[in-house]
């Protein structure tokens, strides 16, 4: 499949390495390996009618299409995860032809080999921390005078600020303990309620690069006991999406 059929583009899913029989078996006949040895790009054909630059933006507004496309991307990455080190590429990494994929790999090969070594034998685990609704501030009761109202507002603001600072402290300690149980960690912006559809408020949304997932999950269990008013949720194992870019040099 070196020739590219008309109306077909090359979608690059991930970089893997080293390439061996297991990797080839995991991919089956559906996907191509561009490159060999320590690092290769896993790519496959997609329809230009969906992924051409002029239509992709439109497609991304179609929720069902996005669901399927994102899941298709993730399925390829998940196939590779048990058999090789994987550096996932961002959605929509598209090339005109095989030569385009090869040129891209060539330009970044050293970075990829280094990143593959950094993530080898590790997975990404997500940790979300939720605050139960009863933990949040209740609005003050109705005031009988304007002065009382303002006074209550001020007291509520002070309580709110103190509670916020205390919560930040607890979350910082949680993050520190999880960093100690992992290689690296990143704090992402908590997901908004409109996105999660959850009555609870997400107060922490982190990802960790983990070599020993049993030890990491055990530390999460200890944190759950130490912080009974917070809800800790672990997701994954993911490919190292949050750790795919080489550290700044």
């Amino acid at each position: 499949m070196t020739a590219t059929a008309a109306g077909t583009l090359w979608y690059a899913y991930a970089v893997v390495g080293p390439v061996d029989a297991e990797v080839r078996a995991a991919l089956g006949g559906e996907f191509e390996l561009v490159g060999s040895g320590e690092a290769a790009v896993v790519a496959g054909p997609v329809d230009e009618a969906d992924y051409g630059t002029d239509v992709l933006a439109e497609r991304l507004n179609d929720r069902e299409w996005v669901e399927q496309a994102v899941q298709a991307h993730e399925r390829v990455v998940q196939r590779l995860l048990p058999v090789a080190a994987v550096v996932p590429l961002r959605f929509g990494s598209i090339h005109r032809d095989r030569e385009g994929v090869a040129a891209f790999l060539h330009s970044r090969r050293d970075d990829f080999v280094a990143t593959l070594a950094r993530v080898r034998g590790r997975v990404e685990l997500g940790v979300k921390v939720w605050l139960e609704p009863q933990e949040e501030q209740r609005p003050p009761a109705a005031a009988t005078s304007g002065r009382e109202y303002l006074e209550r507002q001020r007291a509520a603001r002070e309580r709110h600020a103190a509670a916020g600072a205390e919560l930040d402290d607890r979350l910082r300690r949680i993050h520190e303990r999880l960093l100690a149980a992992s290689d690296e960690g990143v704090l992402n912006r908590p997901q908004a309620r409109e996105l999660t559809g959850d009555p609870r408020r997400m107060v922490m949304n982190a990802a960790y690069l983990v070599a020993d997932d049993d030890a990491f999950v055990a530390e999460v269990e200890r944190l759950r006991r130490d912080e009974p008013s917070l809800v800790l949720e672990v997701t994954g194992p993911w490919a190292p999406y949050n750790f795919a870019d080489a550290p700044e040099r």
């Binding site: 385009g100 590790r122 999406y241």
Partner: protein, 67 residues
């Protein structure tokens, strides 16, 4: 090192977790025909509306073809 496989963890994946990673993370490549990252970010803003009621996705069977 312990097992990389932890299937019990991967019982349910929310669409927003998936979108957050696949659309927002991962290596950005530049190629002859690469969707500009800025475009995705802009579109992602629009997606926030689309994803307002977020479904929990059941993972497909292991190794299911990506169709």
């Amino acid at each position: 090192m312990s097992t990389v496989e932890a299937p019990s963890l991967r019982e349910q994946v929310t669409l927003i977790d998936l979108v957050d990673r696949v659309l927002n993370k991962g290596v950005v490549l530049t190629g002859d025909l690469t969707l500009a990252v800025a475009d995705v970010d802009l579109v992602y803003v629009g997606l926030r509306v689309l994803l307002a009621s977020v479904a929990t996705l059941e993972p497909g069977p292991e190794g299911a073809p990506a169709t």
